[in-house]
């Protein structure tokens, strides 16, 4: 059964008012607030901000119907710099606040901006539940593998052994893989992008915004002050091609430059291995299917990743349709209101107050 069969909205922005066709087009400037941006020079957050500011006009939405809600961290300062509605809330709680907003206001495009500490440490519970419920939110998780704002402690995505202010001998914590976590939390849309690859980032952002349901986008973001170069091997032109696995739904999963392409083939027991194109032979090639109802294949792809970043999939891991929490909640309320013949009148409220068992005096 599809969402259309259920009479449910299909795209993430379906109920959000768009600009009329003849309205003057929006530009990046329309989305730039008057606040001075205060990240450190060279911070990857600037790059993401510029990408989002230049991408938002492409959605053609009325600016006042866009809301960014963030938690706490360097990344969470994001809403101040966008000329939309915005709330810089408290550490880890943005998904909960956004859930209340999105559920009560279907006419809004609600975005959550969060960091690896904000989303996965203090706010881990809210994140997994927003994903599980499939609230119509677009969640941008800026992963710099460090606590930036508090000046450089290891985070739940820091590599084991990370030497930081709070782990002078190296951290002994095992990290989360945010994509695996999201898939395990029943997320309907999970993607990963690099801050530095604007084209790819915009493409992923568009798919995420248009997805009806919770969309989690992990964005690798460099913190030049406390964790510089964390993703350098993925940015380095000489290594990039050999490491980045670009996921394209409907196409075989491959890695490597054209002249040294490797193809993912299935191996007994589940996970795949990359073999040179020429050696594929009769082996079963893994074709990426982001829409596969079973998340196991997407999960297996997420496990290609490792702290060494030998192979890092980028793009959309999973994109499936499932009724969203907010649509279902509203359907119950609207259904009850409709069944009763419209919004409650004073007489209806009077009936509620009296209940079923009254008696009269005098």
């Amino acid at each position: 059964m599809t969402l259309t069969d259920l009479g449910m909205p299909v795209t993430g922005l379906q109920h959000v008012p768009h600009l009329p066709d003849d309205a003057p087009g929006q530009s990046k400037r329309d989305f730039t607030s008057d606040q001075e941006v205060r990240w450190c020079p060279g911070c990857g957050d600037y790059v993401i901000l510029a990408a989002v500011q230049s991408f938002l006009p492409e959605l053609g939405l009325r600016r006042e119907n866009i809301v960014f809600v963030s938690g706490i961290g360097c990344s969470s300062r994001f809403p101040y710099y966008l000329d939309t509605y915005g709330m810089h809330s408290i550490h880890g709680r943005a998904p909960a606040i956004a859930t209340g907003l999105a559920t009560s206001r279907p006419d809004l495009s609600v975005w959550v901006v969060t960091g690896d500490g904000d989303a996965l440490s203090i706010g881990g519970n809210h994140l997994i539940h927003a994903l599980r419920r499939n609230v119509n939110l677009t969640i941008l998780l800026f992963n710099n593998q460090i606590y930036g704002l508090t000046k450089g402690q290891y985070s739940p995505t820091s590599r084991t052994g990370s030497v930081t202010k709070s782990s002078p001998l190296g951290s002994v914590d095992a990290p989360f893989n945010p994509v695996s976590l999201a898939l395990g939390a029943e997320a309907t849309f999970v993607a990963r992008a690099m801050e530095s690859d604007r084209a790819e980032l915009k493409e992923v952002l568009r798919a995420a915004a248009e997805h009806r349901g919770a969309a989690l986008v992990e964005i690798y973001q460099n913190c030049p002050i406390f964790n510089d170069g964390a993703f350098e091997v993925l940015k380095d032109r000489t290594q990039q091609a050999a490491r980045i696995v670009r996921l394209r739904s409907g196409e075989p999963v491959t890695v490597g430059p054209e002249d040294d392409r490797r193809v993912l083939v299935r191996v007994a027991g589940g996970h795949g291995e990359f073999v040179p194109e020429a050696e594929v032979g009769a082996r079963e090639v893994v074709v990426h299917d982001a829409a596969a109802p079973d998340p196991s294949a997407a999960f297996a792809l997420s496990r290609l990743d490792s702290p060494e970043m030998t192979h890092v999939p980028m793009g959309v891991f999973r994109q499936v349709s499932r009724p969203t929490y907010d649509d279902l909640v509203r359907a119950q309320v609207e259904g009850a209101v409709d069944a009763a013949g419209g919004p409650a009148t004073d007489a209806d409220l009077g009936e509620l107050l009296r209940g079923r068992d009254t008696w009269t005096v005098g």
Partner: protein, 621 residues
């Protein structure tokens, strides 16, 4: 048909007690409903264990329901029962100490087996060893008579038949106090409509109980309690939690805004979530969150979007919500936080009552974070208190804490149902246009430009064109709302937020001092209303002059409170904590109030309070 006498009483207190599985809460509820229908005034007090089913027949497993009804105004569920229905030895043992000598006991002899007696440490049966000779005991084989009466129901197992014994007990008590059983019959018809045999069996048990009273010689007389004089109107019986949920829904209706509740289940607050979940037809949205932090976050997010955001919980949940309440203080958005207090600290006494969260809700946040606090005083008053909480939240754009407690939450009393158009008009205006001009003379929106009278900032919800703005928990510049670390600005903002709360319009404290020459004032708050009023009534009936007042608003205090406190030689402040309001009063007004406290998980008794006040009366005489 019967030669039995009928006696008239002015008041009766009955306590139904049995094992958690015996259906005593239901029996009590039904008896209450019958009593309400007769027009008595009444007040109830359920008392049940935190465990859903503690081991059968043990003391921890005893569940009880007390009902006080009278031909006059009833203020409390009653200090001591006149009648105890004890469904097993544990119920007798657990409750006997509360039972004055001369009171009546109806005991289910079938359960007084050697094994059950041993479970609670009785060596011999108190029904037989003479130890109950100071009480009036009716030993009735409730279980076996019920089973016998249900013999024709061949399709039912013995267990199913035994289960109807609470209906037998209800029938018997209904006969004793001449209560009509038609309401209960309708109720059973609804409950067991789909299972005709169970329905018939329950009805048969109910009738058998009634007939047992009427025919056996053990019960020589039945009793009548006349209807109480009550103001004309339509009444229903409500528990505090029901009234509170209705008040929230009514407030949202009168505000013309949707209600969104974010909540995580916790005793004794869950019934607010349950009740509101059933009000979808009234546009009420309920979201059962993953935890209390999410519950309040959801409510705040909904408020940001223009709804009446509410979160309901008990003390442990407040602890988790504190940081978000602080955010709401900074964002200056409406938010209603309902705290149904229970015994603490930590998990404490989940099903028992206490008033020990007052200081937590006043001060349990980081920074200078003033929050208006109000408290409901009776079960029905929870309705008015909820409306008032919404009024303050929306008028002043602030989180508000509404305090209730386990006693009010589960206790019930008749409520004169108001007409909807008599309820306060809570319409709120959302910001729709720029409210200032910038240096260049262009219209701009200043999110922290305040209403000069209320000091409230505009409620500008997403979706409003031209008012796009950012808010957050970082200190904001006065007027513009931009981030500001300026020392003087912070000082200004801290004081503005305080001034806004201090300036909330609350009515003056009304003092009940009929003779006008009392030297002693009893000042209470919250659920001590009933016991305080009952104790002062007892003392006045004995010829003493005692003044009484009850605080609805704990922050800000009513403007005349200072004056009231200074008018009396002694001010007694009874609280179910160790003196939290007393601390606030002493600190705020430099008045040495007398604190009387008890933290037993139970409401004060009338006698206890009357004794304390008497001692003080002697001092000043």
């Amino acid at each position: 048909m019967t030669s039995k006498t009928v006696q008239t009483l002015d008041r009766v207190v009955i306590r139904f007690a049995g094992d958690s599985g015996d259906g005593m809460q239901l029996t009590g509820d039904r008896f209450t409903s019958e009593t309400a229908a007769l027009g008595n005034d009444l007040s109830t007090l359920p008392n049940f264990p935190a465990e859903i089913r503690a081991p059968q027949g043990t003391l921890p497993g005893v569940s009880s329901f007390q009902l006080h009804f009278a031909d006059h105004d009833v203020l409390t569920p009653g200090d001591a029962p006149d009648v105890l229905v004890a469904m097993n030895p544990a119920a007798l043992k657990a409750n006997l100490a509360d039972l004055p000598r001369g009171a009546t006991i109806v005991a289910n002899t079938d359960e007084f087996t050697t094994r059950n007696l041993a479970k609670v440490g009785y060596e011999t049966s108190p029904l037989e060893d003479g130890s109950l000779e100071s009480w009036h005991v009716h030993a009735v084989a409730l279980t076996s008579i019920t089973v016998e009466a249900l013999a024709p129901f061949e399709g039912l197992t013995r267990k199913e038949k035994e289960r109807a014994k609470n209906m037998f007990a209800l029938g018997l008590l209904s006969w004793m106090y001449t209560r009509p059983t038609t309401g209960t019959e309708d109720f059973l018809a609804k409950k067991f409509g789909g299972r005709p045999e169970i329905l018939e069996a329950n009805l048969a048990a109910l009738r058998a109980g009634w007939n047992y009273g009427e025919t056996t010689e053990d019960f020589a007389s039945s009793f009548v309690v006349q209807a109480a004089p009550m103001a004309p109107g339509r009444y229903r019986n409500v528990t505090g939690n029901t009234a509170l949920a209705l008040g929230l829904a009514a407030a949202a209706h009168r505000a013309g805004r949707p209600l969104v509740l974010g909540s995580y289940p916790i005793t004794p607050a869950s019934d607010v979530l349950h009740a509101l979940s059933g009000m979808k037809r009234h546009g009420v949205t309920t979201i059962q969150a993953e935890d209390e932090i999410a519950g309040v976050g959801i409510a705040l997010g909904a408020s940001y979007g223009g709804a009446i955001g509410v979160t309901s919980t008990s003390g442990p949940g407040i602890a988790l919500k504190s940081e978000t309440i602080g955010l709401a203080v900074s964002l200056e958005l409406p938010l209603v936080v309902v705290d149904i207090q229970r015994g603490g600290p930590s998990t404490g006494l989940p099903t028992k009552t206490e008033q020990a969260d007052l200081l937590q809700v006043m001060y349990g946040r980081n920074g200078e974070s003033p929050v208006p606090v109000l408290a409901a005083q009776t079960p029905a008053d929870c309705f008015d208190a909820a409306l008032d909480a919404v009024r303050i939240a929306t008028t002043y754009r602030t989180p508000v804490v509404l305090l209730s407690d386990g006693y009010l939450a589960n206790g019930s009393e008749p409520w004169a149902v108001p007409e909807v158009d008599e309820l306060p008009d809570l319409a709120v205006e959302l910001a729709s246009a720029p409210n200032a001009v910038d240096d260049a003379g262009e219209p701009v929106f200043r999110p922290y430009l305040r209403d000069p009278e209320t000091l409230a900032r505009p409620w500008a919800v997403p979706g409003t064109p031209g008012l796009e703005h950012r808010i957050g928990g970082i200190e904001k510049a006065d007027v513009t709302g931009d981030i500001s670390y300026d020392p003087d600005n912070h000082d200004t903002m801290v004081r503005l937020r305080q001034a806004k709360v201090d300036g909330i319009a609350v009515p003056d404290l009304e003092v009940d001092d009929p003779s006008g020459d009392a030297k002693v004032l009893v000042l209470g708050w919250g659920s001590t209303y009933g016991p305080v009023a009952a104790a002062t009534r007892v003392l006045r009936n004995a010829g003493h002059a005692v003044a009484r007042a009850h605080l609805r608003h704990l922050n800000p205090f009513p403007a005349n409170l200072d004056d009231v406190l200074r008018r009396y030689e002694r001010v007694l402040v009874p609280e179910m904590n160790t003196g939290q309001l007393a601390l606030l009063l002493r600190g705020t007004y430099l008045v040495d109030v007398r604190s009387h406290t008890a933290v037993r998980g139970l409401p004060f008794t009338t006698v206890e309070l009357a004794d304390v006040v008497s001692t003080i009366l002697e001092e000043v005489s």
